[in-house]
Amino acid sequence: MDVITADKLTKRFGDFVAVDQISFSVKQGEIFGFLGANGAGKTTAMRMLTGLSRPTSGQAQVAGFDIYRDVEKIKRRIGYMSQKFSLYEDLTVSENIEFYGGVYGIKARDLRLKTSQLLSELGLQEVARTLVGSLPLGWKQKLAFSVAIMHDPALVFLDEPTGGVDPITRRQFWEMIYQAADRGVTIFVTTHYMDEAEYCDRISMMANGRIAALGTPQELREQFQAPDMNAIFLKIARGSQTA
Amino acid sequence: MRQLRIVILKEFYHILRDSRTLLILFGLPLVQILLFGFAITNEIKGAKMAVVDASGDDISREMVQRLTASDYFIYQGRAGSREEVLHLFREGKIKMALFIPPNLQRDFYHGEATEIQLLADATDPNTATTLVNYATAIINDYQLEKLDAQDAPFQIKTELTMRYNPLLKSVYLFVPGVMTVILMLVSAMMTSIALTREKELGTMEVLLVSPLQPPFIIIGKVIPYFILGMVNATLIVTLGVLVFGMPVQGSWLLLGAETILFILTSLALGILISTRTDSQQVAMMMSLMALMLPTIILSGFIFPIESMPRPLQLLSNIIPAKWFIIILRNIMLKGVGFDFVWRETLILFGMFSFFTLLSIRNFKTRLA
């Protein structure tokens, strides 16, 4: 089953075509890497898929809903986590969980159960009443991810999720992502850190509003005859500059 | 001092390129002065007035004419009786009534004691007081004039004229007030925001790591706001004089010197705030709460200090704006010299030295 299908999705701002007829699909439980340089159009594309921006033309379904007609339904079925902002630093761990549970309409009894379950999975029972601002970055990120998938979304958008954390925490974080994907949650990662991209099942690279490469890391390495994602990215970016 | 010059120049670029800053710097003084001058005025114009004239002689007619010739009163007509006047009051047709006793002219020239009664609608006490004050002033004026012309024999008369601002023009009070508020805003708030912005953007780090001596960073950033403060002060006084006919009785030089002292005091306060905060937002909140509110409320600009409760009266003493407003009013309206404002000047100077010392002590040549 496809969780995202996009067909010739386009967004123009005046004369400028930010996203130019992109078509792709993402399967359920897949970890999909959505890459591109700043200004390549990935933020605009992601805004359309999350219902924050109306496309100029083209079609897309997210979690089975149309992105023109069923924006509110889509929002209930997706989660979102950004590196910069996800949790309120001046609220405690349990207050943050309570808040997001409330936002997504989780019933009080379910929420209590989920909260204690989540805290014990993360080993955060001891700090449940601690302000999030005083937690180490790695803990915050794991908590932010858990909160983002607390309402069992079909699909979760992660924006540069592991920038700046130490290598062990980073791997623990990817293990959490793998685990969620294993349970059937689809993961949509936007990033411009290429080594982060290597952890994805499949990757798309955008340049100048178009998808310039799409495939598994191995397929891309063979197609571009490059050793890693970084080298592929450099090839694509250089190509688009001269074009 | 090329380095200092470039810091000053850069600050001007910041100011001139930010339309919001420009608006605060030049739009606000203009709007405030015009608003206070024309719209939010406690001057009353065209209040309707009725007269019960039991004399009906030349003096009484001239007096009524004098009153209604001013902008303040509109003659609503003669009334026959006290009952009629009260009725007019109840219907809200008039704001004030004048009762003239019989034989006014005779009593006047014979130096007999006469009483003219003023009746005002005190549902709005401020308006009533103001109207009565206007009328009293005009009547006294008239009386004085008449007596002079007559070369009358020695008479005892009560002096009731309002001195320095005989017609209670509110704009005379607002010009010094607005000037104080604007200078506080430009010098203290804008400076503290400009300094904390450098911290927030991280450019303060680069400036500190440069060979430029740390005090010069501050001086360079502050000089533009000093200049702007002077420009604003000039703008406000010019508007006051040209548009509202505000008098400047005293020495222009003294006015300028006192203004400089007040700007320096405000700059010191702005720097002090910036040494205590790291974000523009906090700097702005601190400036608004700790500087602007007291300047507007406790300085005597809008609410007379004499009618405040005792604790607030005491508190008003530590507000620099209070002293500056007193100085301004003295110079502009009373036309007095330094010998009459030296005490207030000394207090301001003391505050300036204190704040400067405090900011020097708080300023760090490093980050933390």
């Binding site: 062990i168 293990e175 685990q179 952890y199 970084n230 990215f233 970016a237 | 991280g202 450019t203």
Partner: protein, 305 residues
């Protein structure tokens, strides 16, 4: 032979902010002309160390000299000789490219023309946008402009705090090429980064974590000092693969590593042995190959010691 003091030397630096310890006794010596990398995650103490060395913060304990000047007593001398580029590119957003550069040149008592040869390479790329406000530049352009501003007075030593964070791979690659050319001109460079893959571009690196140096060495030597046999393992179901590999008795540690996972074992193993075990567990498309450890592997190994 002249006896220059080393470009940078510090010994047993401690720094705390209230209850938070940022640096806990770090020491190092860097020679003239070296390109030195300070590598570690956010919150490891990189920025604090940068700020102490650029005289912006005082250490609680320990001593440091930059170009032979003491960071506490001779901060004025240091501020004249160093170039510093703080974390967020500290440019004036409302000033144009040319104005920013002119400002910083004047601040350091020099002119753009005087040291133009040093920044020519970089500035030529910015030239087309010289009238554009710095706030409207792309991340990569801002980074280059900030570098120009830090270089315009021809400093002997350059401190760069995370210059490549938030910048796309193309700009990152160009930036490192620029650093190499500056090094050729004799400038000592002390650069911090959270990206492990940038370690190999430095002469020497210090790995920093929780206010400690885990190791200081040449990048090649660091990777080579990895203590266990290392294998790259791949199968179709990654999540289950990780669980199963961790259950395997010879396993020391297993971590995801890109699309593979890196398995370190207590002793040398025969890859076929693991393939057999994983086939038994029902895995498909299994590959197990010995692989060369990276700095990141070594970093993790040092973290768990």
């Amino acid at each position: 032979m002249t006896t220059h003091p080393p470009a940078l030397v510090f010994d047993n630096i401690h720094k705390s902010f209230g209850p938070v310890t940022a640096l806990e006794g770090v020491s190092l010596e860097i020679g003239r002309g070296e390109l030195f990398g300070l590598i570690g995650p956010d919150g490891a103490g990189k920025t604090t160390l940068m700020r102490i060395l650029t005289t912006l913060l005082l250490p609680d304990q320990g001593a440091a000299q930059v170009l032979g000047y003491d960071v506490i007593k001779q901060w004025r001398n240091i501020r004249r000789e160093v170039g510093y580029m703080p974390g967020r590119f500290s440019l004036y957003q409302d000033l144009s490219v040319a104005e920013n550069l002119h400002f910083f040149a004047t601040l350091f008592g020099t002119t753009v023309a005087e040291n133009y040869d040093l920044i020519r390479d970089i500035y030529e790329q910015l030239e087309p946008f010289r009238k554009r406000r710095a706030g409207k530049l792309s991340g990569g352009m801002k980074q280059k402009l900030a570098l120009c501003c830090a270089l315009v007075h021809r400093p002997q030593i350059l401190f760069l705090d995370e210059p490549t964070t938030g910048v796309d791979p193309v700009s990152r690659q160009e930036f490192w090429q620029i650093l190499n050319r500056l090094q050729d001109q004799g400038i000592t460079i002390f650069v911090s980064t959270p990206y492990m893959d940038e370690a190999s571009l430095c002469d020497r690196v210090a790995l920093i974590q929780d206010g400690h140096f885990l190791a200081v060495d040449k990048p090649g030597a660091l990777a080579a000092s990895y203590e266990h046999p290392l294998y790259a393992v791949k199968a179709r179901d990654r999540f289950r693969l990780l669980q199963d590999v961790r259950q395997w008795p010879p396993t020391y540690q297993a971590f995801p590593f890109g699309e593979q996972l890196h398995l370190s074992t207590r002793t040398e193993i025969d890859p076929q042995q693991l393939v057999g075990y994983l086939t038994q567990q029902g895995h498909q498309e299994i590959t197990v190959t010995p692989t060369a450890p990276t700095i990141e592997d070594r970093f993790m190994e040092l973290m768990t010691h």
